[in-house]
């Protein structure tokens, strides 16, 4: 047993030392595998970044009330008298003054100019109620101040300011015939709210002629369990019959559509490329076995078994794959991690997000690389183990 182990170690070290003789072919395999991993991880980091931006925005103890079947805030309408009924609903937390902690909101789409492409893009203008900012976690005005209620003032999310033109602090923006002043910039902990423009609900209602209804109502619940009370209250009142969801669940749905799509594009591409790289890896490893045929036969002739030759070739292949995988992960981290992009989200408006790698994703990338290395090494390794001694010692 011990001698077998020593044989394996000896042959493996010969294999690894001989990589230098085939440096260009080996290097091309390493780079091919690295590129596969880069493509996969770039897509996964995109999906993950998008997912975190949206799904991270929702709270468990905030309910969002939408028109039944509307699916997204942009489609929803909730009438004024329905808002009043919700205010009186069960399970809603109240402030020190006894008023319910709710925020009726309007969600309108306005045009902005994307800095990178200089094309028009859909941006959300959200009219929020008095409790609007307080109902969201981690909202902090980082420059300027909050808008004053009743005035044509807006505050803009930090991500929106970075990606779109014309929203600098103090500037005037027009949406159609209406004029607004940007009085503040806010941080929302990297969530989707940073891609929004916020203003006072009543001002938005009157300037956009939407006095009789809002689109959604957000409500602070007394606890996550209170959601069901509010839900059955809405279901049992024929005047309501609205969709009541936790904000966390709502945003999770919103996030999954786009991030699933990105993953569905990324995986097949990466797998196709992995097959291409696999052909390269097989080629490299068969060349390795062919180049060392005499050496393997010599070892066999002096009493080494076939198994060490098998292991040596497999380890060589796996090492190349592991180097490729790690190189790919490192390159993705350096090139893509943290870069900002924006795309249309479920609410038909731009969502600004950062590509975000995670240890789990890196694990998936390296695993794919190792699978390529394993299959790419397996067949050449079998050939190495079965190489007839006589043929190996008589090079043609």
């Amino acid at each position: 047993m011990r001698s077998l182990l020593l044989q394996v170690i000896a042959v493996t070290s010969i294999n690894l030392k001989s990589i230098a003789q085939r440096r260009w072919l080996s290097l091309s395999t390493v780079i091919a595998i690295a590129l596969v991993v880069i493509v996969l991880l770039a897509f996964l980091a995109m999906a993950n970044g998008f997912q975190r931006t949206i799904a991270g925005a929702g709270a468990d103890d905030v309910a969002i009330v939408l028109r039944a079947g509307s699916q997204a805030e942009i489609n929803s309408t909730v009438a004024r008298d329905q808002v009043r009924l919700i205010e009186d609903g069960p399970g809603i937390a109240r402030g020190a003054d006894g008023k319910p902690l709710i925020s009726p909101e309007l969600y309108l789409v306005v045009d902005g100019l994307k800095r990178s492409t200089r094309t028009k893009a859909n941006l959300p203008l959200r009219g929020i109620g008095e409790q609007g900012a307080a109902l969201r976690k981690g909202i902090a005005v980082t420059a300027g101040r909050m808008f004053n209620r009743g005035s044509n003032e807006v505050v803009v999310g930090k991500a929106l300011l970075r990606e779109f033109e014309g929203f600098d602090l103090g500037s005037t923006v027009s949406f159609g015939a209406t004029r607004w002043t940007v009085v503040g910039v806010f941080d929302a902990g990297g969530s989707v709210f940073e891609s929004e423009i916020w203003a006072d609900l009543n001002v938005v209602q009157s300037l956009f002629n939407r006095n009789n209804f809002v689109q959604t109502v957000r409500a602070r619940l007394t606890g996550p369990a209170a959601l069901n009370e509010l839900k059955s209250y809405s279901d049992n009142d024929p005047r309501l019959k609205l969709d009541v969801k936790s904000e966390a669940a709502y945003f999770a749905e919103q996030a999954s559509q786009t991030s699933d799509l990105i993953q569905k594009l990324g995986w097949p591409l990466a797998i196709a490329m992995a097959l291409g790289a696999l052909a390269g890896a097989l080629n490299t490893m068969y060349s390795s076995v062919a180049a060392r045929a005499t050496e393997i036969a010599t070892l066999r002739a002096i009493g080494f078994g076939g198994f060490p030759a098998f292991v040596g070739t497999l380890v060589e292949s796996l090492s190349l794959a592991a180097i490729g995988g790690l190189l790919g992960a490192a390159a993705t981290y350096l090139i893509f991690d943290g870069i900002t992009a924006s795309t249309l989200g479920g609410n038909f408006t731009q969502v600004v997000f950062d590509f975000k790698l995670s240890p789990w994703l890196i694990g998936e990338g390296v695993a794919l690389a190792l699978i390529v290395g394993l299959i790419g090494g397996l067949f050449p390794a079998l050939r190495a183990a079965r190489l007839p001694i006589v043929a190996g010692l008589n090079p043609t």
């Binding site: 309108l108 306005v110 038909f348």
Partner: protein
């Protein structure tokens, strides 16, 4: 035995190696074909957009409504041949997940503006105009749900409600629209605006956007200016643009698809360039003695160069052509399920030609260094080596 036989025999002397390289080239060209087809699907609509068609939307954003009165005011503008309007309905069938692209439109003018794209039997169009609560559906929509002319289908809206309560409208299918051109998606339901406007609970007398056709593309600029200045400083200012510009801006909202396609295809090609380039170099090096023999027999340097390049180009074509063919099959298989986002998903002749040019380029690049080395090889060195 002519030179081509020699090239072919050289390529396949190590069958496994040749097969592996062919597979890796095949995959790269398959990725190229599918992604180029995908990119084309996103841009072909823009390229083929009628030059004389303009879109007028609310200046705030195209999701904001316009007053219905604008329809007649734009109709009267000099240089406008035809105007029609549309309103987004946000439709779904039975479950909100079954999205149905549906618009409330004015039948006669809408079908006139899109007469080059839509193919609808005249008697069906007449029936559609006559029955206020009827709808026409696109061919792929009909296929998807198995709907036929005469069926009564309930379409729910995720935005609008009926004045009488509920979110669902029932429509009788009056006709089925076929596409006259490839890039038109027929996954839609069109129904009468008048009926919709009377029955909805809010938003009365507003429309989503106007589509107009000018007398001639040369008049576009003047018509755009006239319309937008006509509504300037009103409560609903407008923004008018060509259909093409509108489409380009909309596609750009999803992100830089062209860049993503370029990077992925680039990564796939760098991979095969390295693998094939190195392998070609290796296999020519292995044949050094033989090349020496060929030269001794009187083969000129140029002939050797051509033979090595011929081998690498043959290899690229043997991998690339089936790769493009597989890509074409993939696009055909996926076309139905991607019809709503990418209706013209296909490996077009343009893409195939680009692909063949890339194959030849790949062959030349991977073959050129080994070929030059082989050409310059001195007989004495060649026969002395190994």
């Amino acid at each position: 035995m002519n030179d081509f036989d020699l090239v072919r025999k050289n390529l396949f002397r190590r069958k496994l190696r040749a097969a592996l390289m062919i597979v890796s080239i095949l995959i790269a060209f398959m990725i190229f074909g599918v992604l180029a087809g995908f990119h084309r699907a996103f841009t072909v609509g823009e390229d083929r957009a009628a030059a004389d068609r303009l879109i007028t939307v609310n200046k705030i954003n195209f999701t904001q409504p316009l007053p219905m009165a604008y329809f007649n005011r734009v109709r009267a503008v000099d240089g406008v041949r035809q105007v029609t309007h549309a309103n987004w309905f946000g439709g779904y069938y039975q479950d909100p997940k079954n999205f149905v692209m549906s618009l409330a439109i004015e039948p006669a003018t809408y079908c006139d503006v899109y007469r080059k794209e839509f193919d609808i039997p005249p008697e069906q169009l007449t029936a559609f105009i006559r029955d206020r609560s009827s709808a026409v559906i696109g061919e792929s929509m009909a296929r998807k749900w198995g709907w036929k002319v005469g069926d009564r289908v309930p379409i729910a809206s995720n935005i609008f409600s009926q004045r009488s309560g509920g979110h669902t409208w029932d429509f009788t299918i009056a006709g089925i629209v076929k596409a006259k051109v490839e890039h038109v998606d027929t996954n839609f339901v069109l129904f009468q605006y008048d009926y919709f406007d009377e029955t909805r609970s809010f938003g009365k007398d507003t429309i989503g956007w106007l589509i107009l056709q000018t007398n001639a593309p040369e008049n576009n600029d003047r018509v755009v200016k006239t319309i937008d200045s006509m509504f300037a400083n009103s409560t609903a200012e407008t923004s008018t643009d060509t259909e093409k510009a509108f489409g380009t801006a909309f596609v750009a909202q999803f992100g830089n698809i062209a860049l993503i396609v370029f990077l992925v295809v680039g990564a796939a090609f760098v991979t095969i360039l390295m693998i094939v380039g190195n392998t070609m170099a290796l296999s020519i090096r292995e044949r050094t003695r033989e090349i020496g023999v060929l030269k001794t027999l009187g083969f000129s340097g140029g002939r050797i160069l051509r033979m090595v390049l011929g081998e690498s180009i043959l290899l690229a074509l043997l991998g690339g052509l089936p790769g493009l063919a597989i890509a074409a099959l993939i696009t055909i298989a996926l076309r139905a399920s991607l019809a709503s986002i990418a209706p013209a998903f296909a490996v077009s002749p343009d893409i195939a030609l680009q692909g063949i040019a890339l194959m030849i380029a790949l062959g030349l690049i991977t073959g050129i260094i080994p070929a030059l080395n082989a050409m310059r090889l001195k007989i004495a060195t060649a026969l002395g080596r190994g």
